[in-house]
């Protein structure tokens, strides 16, 4: 058996019962995704933005662990001939300039709203009205983008590099890149733990200690 399943790959072109199976898979995957994110604390704005105030690094820890472990899994399965990694990478082409510009803008929006687009759904599902406001904002913002896109000219397609991978860029095997990412992640985790420990030793309560604790009382420099 080889993956991705030919039955479901290229979902957009599917119709009839394969499409229904794909949508059912989507719901199941979504339930797992939403459940894990909520349990990680991603439904709580303070836990997310703590990353940008140096008070807690849950975002970094969860994201980097997920990326590193999925990357190792993908490289191992690809090496074993079970996963066509190139077929997956083909779905993630690089357009360098709009991705950098979009990233900067999304980072600002993240700090303004307290959520990212995915976590705002999780917050909404757990009853947070600020999460719901973010969801509505994301819907509006993406429609605004569609409206003004023709005026942006060639920029959204600029820096086009195709399915350009870290392995190709660094001229290294994908497995070595995965090992480097794991090493980088572990280094970042030690740094994050050290910074958090330093914050706690100043006897500042962490956001997990009290529901109503605000970031301001957790050591954001004034």
């Amino acid at each position: 058996m080889s993956f991705p399943l030919s039955y479901l790959a290229d979902f957009d072109s599917l119709s009839g019962s394969p499409r229904l199976v794909g949508l059912a898979v989507a719901v199941v995957v979504g339930i797992a995704f939403g459940f894990v994110m909520e349990r990680a604390g991603f439904g709580r704005a303070q836990k997310l933005v703590g990353q940008f105030y140096g008070t807690e690094f849950t975002v970094l820890k969860v994201m980097f662990t997920a990326i590193a472990s999925a990357m190792v899994g993908a490289v191992v399965l690809s090496g074993a001939g079970l996963l066509d990694l190139e077929a997956v990478q083909f779905n993630y082409p690089t357009f360098l300039w709009p991705m950098i510009a979009g990233g900067l803008l999304l980072g600002v929006g993240f700090v303004v709203s307290g959520y990212c687009p995915g976590t705002s759904f999780v917050a909404t599902a757990s009853g947070k009205l600020d999460g719901l406001a973010t969801v509505l904002g994301v819907v509006a913002g993406s429609v605004i983008y569609a409206e003004v896109e023709p005026a942006l000219g060639a920029f959204p397609s600029s820096g086009k590099l195709g399915a350009f991978t870290l392995a190709r860029w660094l001229h290294l095997p994908a497995s070595l890149v995965a090992a480097l990412v794991v090493a980088l992640a572990i280094g970042a985790f030690f740094a994050a733990e050290a910074i958090e420990r330093r914050g706690r030793s100043r006897s500042i309560p962490s956001s997990t200690a009290s529901r109503s604790t605000t970031l301001g009382t957790e050591g954001v420099p004034t």
Binding site: F35, A66, F110, T134, G137
Partner: protein
């Protein structure tokens, strides 16, 4: 079952669980997770309901309605699942509660306004970068896409640059 709203999973174990979900999605679908794409489709659906002629005149919206109903989409159903999974996790951990998360001294109206405004910025940004933190940073990052990594570092840069100006909403 223990219900402590302030108890979360160990972040590294949560990360491994998230990585497993992501890897399974690659295997089944040939692509990863996402979120903002579903938001856009909801916007296309709403725009098309109010002004169908206008919606079909906007290229990106016409593209989302080409073959199917705009909501007949993988990401839309994935996000429906996310809402179910998120609600289930919040309920079973005692976090399912209608509230506005903010600093104690910050006004509720101000917080909602910022949440909305930040959402608008992110909706625009995620379309520009062809995906958000889920669909680009996480899903593209784990299969080593250079653009996804450039996006991810830019998100952190933008967040750190803006954080100081927004600190009051968490006090």
């Amino acid at each position: 079952m223990e219900r402590n709203p302030d108890k979360f999973w160990n972040p590294y174990l949560a990360g491994l669980a998230l990585g497993a979900v992501l890897l399974a999605t690659y295997l089944l679908m040939g692509k990863g997770l996402g979120a903002s794409g579903a938001s856009f489709r909801a916007g296309v659906w709403a725009t098309n309901a109010v002004a169908p002629a206008h919606a079909s005149s906007v290229p990106a919206m016409a593209g989302a309605m080409e073959d199917h109903h705009p909501m007949n989409d993988w990401l839309v159903f994935e996000v429906l699942g996310m809402l179910v999974g998120g609600a289930l996790a919040a309920w079973t951990s005692g976090r399912l509660q209608r509230e506005v998360l903010k600093g104690v001294t910050f006004s509720t109206a101000g917080r909602i306004a910022l949440a909305l405004a930040g959402g608008v910025l992110m909706g625009f940004a995620a379309k520009l970068s062809r995906g958000c933190t889920s669909g680009q940073a996480l899903s593209g990052g784990a299969i080593q896409s250079v653009g996804s990594w450039a996006f991810m570092f830019s998100v952190f840069a933008g967040g750190y640059a803006a954080a100081w100006f927004l600190r009051r909403q968490w006090r």
